[in-house]
């Protein structure tokens, strides 16, 4: 097991939550887990053994560039995290609105009360 495997595992744990949980908020938690797992996946594919953060400073000379990890996945994940936050926030707003209308968060009852 390494982080690559764990991120795949987390992805499907989140998917399990989305599919099988009846509570809308738990579904959103599942979606958040899925999003987190993709972030973990991207970060772990860029990791190299003994790698350091791709940021130069006074202590880090230009020669140590060989030890640095790939900066691209990290930059991509900054974007993906913001998107995850946006989707989660929007989903929660929708849940508040749905709860106002139907007074329930249970998906079975929501499906019944068409």
């Amino acid at each position: 097991m390494n982080p690559l495997h764990i991120s795949i595992l987390l992805f499907f744990i989140g998917l399990y939550g989305v599919i099988n949980k009846n509570n809308l908020i738990k579904k959103i938690i599942g979606l958040t887990i899925i999003n987190g797992s993709t972030v973990l996946f991207f970060i772990s594919i860029s990791y190299s053994e003994g790698g350091i953060a791709p940021i130069f400073s006074k202590d880090i000379s230009r020669e140590s560039v060989q030890a640095m990890v790939n900066p691209v996945p990290q930059a991509l994940m900054l974007t993906a995290i913001v998107i995850g936050v946006s989707v989660t926030a929007l989903a929660l707003a929708l849940i508040v609105k749905i709860y106002e209308k139907y007074k329930t968060l249970d998906i079975q009852q929501l499906l019944k009360g068409r």
Partner: protein, 153 residues
Amino acid sequence: MVLLSSYGEKNKMKSSNIIKTIAQKLFPFILLFGIYLILHGHLSPGGGFQGGVVLGTAVILLFLSYGIEETERKVKIKYLSIIEVSIILFFIFIGVFGMLTANFFLKNFLPLGRTGQILSGGFMPLLNFVIGIKVAAGIFGIFYILFKYRGEI
């Protein structure tokens, strides 16, 4: 949900003087830290997004300790959406300006400067600033709206 419902009944926030004082004293420092993160985004770990989140949480802290009415008086919330829209238009304008001066959309049109100084990296500090303001406004906006219009639960 239980917590929020008890909130709704009283419809007024109460917090002790300790929390209020500490929040008030901490507020400028958190703000400073956020601004530091934004301004040094191209030199050190951090950047517009991270700094923006810190700025947003600083306002949220004030909000939590002082309650909704007082913060609304301090922070002009009706300008929030105007700030957000105009900052995105400014971002697009930066891109178009790069297109006009340097012939490519979102191309750096400022000199790169000496690496390691604040004013280096071309338009990166500018973009960091834009993103920082945007994210701070966004994070606070999400919190504020979800809190204020949380619905009768």
